[in-house]
Symmetry: C2
Subunit: 367 residues, 2 copies
């Protein structure tokens, strides 16, 4: 399909910033993006007249919302797929893929089975096996299988003390335990796969985490190991018949690239694309759901950067007048330490110059 | 002020595409942009939960809407200022300025009084004087004083036959009659003046009209005569204490620049700025109303272009997947010949390259 179908109702389960930006970008394409969320002051509810009050964890609410939509997508991969009605070909990514990728255990197994590079891991309910893994590797990262994000549900175990603390967790099999990868850089490769099979990668991005959450992302960056990996990812997504945008968070060591995590949705490291690419990740995700022919995705400038605006207090924030960046404020009700409140995007002749411009504008904010 | 005030309610009288884009860009800044318009399917009503049903021509509706807002602005300069309550310092541009500039007669007189270059004109109710003006100049343009736009209310008189036809109009004093300027190019200089007095000009734009409405705009273009004119415009706006974005449509001849028309609002020839400038015209207009310190406005790329998507039938339009442009569809209910249905923006290394990219994407649309 090389046209955007008009008057299509796209439902989004969830009302946070990702849903908000799907709304905002969808509007420009003439799509009706509908939101299901609890509160009319949710970020996405404030960006559309098509807001539906209701919990995404209530089976009958979800059912009646989905029935009204032409196509439905997810803000978060942690949707409870057992609550979602079996409506044929209405959900993208498919419920099967969401189920597979939302649980870090099945995600990890799937990566290994498909020969995608990822760190060694174990899954066990036995403390002795955890201790053995620690002794073999000298450190590890334990990640909750479900509902982890931005460092929540992640334990980095680098000492015996950390280990003892981690072992206090009752159900060890709620975690996967991975070898800690001493990476040089964290990279992120975002990919869009349309219902018609077209695949496009966004420019490769480097990101920096601070307190276990993304602080900035910049690009495009070079990495000669990424092309072979992208070829494998393309085959993997074909095998899954995956539809939508999907993010592969990567660790780069001096020798290799490892997939750290897979997020089957639009992703924080793709927010730059609103200003930096011919097609942004939200538009691309919507195109994928509609089965649209995907144009080649390219950067519009030599470089780009995105810096998250993260709360550092509970005080009312102060928003700067940016000189060189574009503000995307999410209109969250409350400022909170560690909460992603918005982001700023800058474009310039290189990744580093863009980052410098954005970090300079960041100084004006009090969050 | 170097911060964006939070939780400010900005009211917009009107619900078309300009109001829509004020909403969309305001949302990103964390501003609550409220719309007063008749129909919940109006372009701006479809971009916000803050839509208020009502006519901008009903005094009590307008009054109660304005009272709820912190600041109010206008989508169109043709607001009936007699219906608008006298709420101190709430309206930008001021009602005085809107009144002055909405009537082409007082606008023209004001330009002449302030020594801004514009074509010779007459205003008369006597056919004999119109005939005399025609005989002196060999041609003229008659423009309705109020409610003219996109060629509606404009008569180009180039022959005796045109003249006879024009003279059938009953109230000649509803028109101003201007000398026809045989221009080389049509240019447009957009300016933002903040409540705090800061003034910034957008990059100079060339536009091409087709069937008396803007077909495309591209920039930045060079014109060595524009700087002295911009200095005069700056003084003029200071004298008026004008607040907001304002567009000066210009005719360039081999010798001079003439002001064709002044539009005291965001303008079609500034739509490119959403993608091409560090600050777009809608953001700039909102900044002006809030009295924010205006950063220097610059292009993000070597060139940019905007092409309007104009209806050519009453059939349901077909929207292309743009390869290099960004689509801004206005979600109007009905396609109609001559109706502005949306626009596409492209950026590249030069104005002409950008225009080429946009015109290429235009081919995919059926409007």
């Amino acid at each position: 399909m090389d046209k955007i179908p008009l008057n299509i109702k796209v439902g989004v389960l969830g009302g946070g910033q990702l849903a908000r930006m799907l709304c905002q970008q969808g509007q420009r394409l003439g799509l009706q993006v509908h939101i299901l969320s609890n509160n009319k002051t949710d970020p996405a509810a404030l960006a559309t007249p098509h807001w539906h009050k209701g919990s995404i964890n209530n089976k009958s609410t979800v059912n009646s919302f989905c029935k009204k939509m032409d196509v439905v997508t997810f803000e978060s991969e942690f949707a409870d797929t057992t609550l979602i009605p079996k409506l044929r070909n209405k959900f993208y990514p498919s419920l099967k893929n969401i189920s597979l990728l939302q649980d870090r255990l099945s995600q990890k197994k799937s990566l290994v089975q498909n020969k995608l590079p990822t760190s060694p891991f174990i899954h066990t309910d036995k403390a002795s096996e955890v201790i053995h893994f620690y002794e073999c590797h000298g450190s590890f990262v334990a990640k909750k299988r479900m509902f982890g994000y931005d460092g929540y549900g992640t334990f980095i175990v680098k000492s015996k003390k950390d280990l003892q603390k981690f072992l206090l967790n009752k159900n060890l099999n709620n975690f996967i335990i991975e070898k800690f990868i001493p990476f040089k850089r964290e990279l992120s490769t975002l990919c869009a796969r349309s219902k018609n099979g077209d695949v496009q990668f966004f420019p490769l991005v480097e990101s920096l985490q601070k307190d276990a959450k993304c602080f900035w992302a910049k690009g495009p960056v070079n990495c000669n190991k990424v092309l072979p990996l992208q070829r494998k990812i393309k085959s993997y997504l074909k095998k899954l018949n995956y539809v939508g945008v999907i993010a592969f968070e990567l660790f780069e060591t001096s020798k290799s690239l490892y997939i750290n995590e897979v997020a089957p949705r639009v992703h924080n490291t793709g927010h730059h694309s609103i200003g930096s690419c011919n097609i942004d990740q939200f538009t691309a995700h919507l195109y994928c759901l509609l089965g649209v022919k995907l144009p080649k995705i390219t950067s519009l400038s030599g470089g780009f950067a995105m810096v998250n605006l993260v709360g550092s207090s509970i005080k009312k924030p102060q928003l700067a007048i940016c000189k060189n960046s574009k503000l995307h404020w999410y209109e969250k009700n409350d400022n909170r330490p560690g909460r992603k409140m918005g982001h700023i995007n800058a474009c310039s002749t290189s990744a580093d110059k863009s980052l410098k411009l954005a970090l300079n504008d960041l100084k004006g904010f009090k969050l």
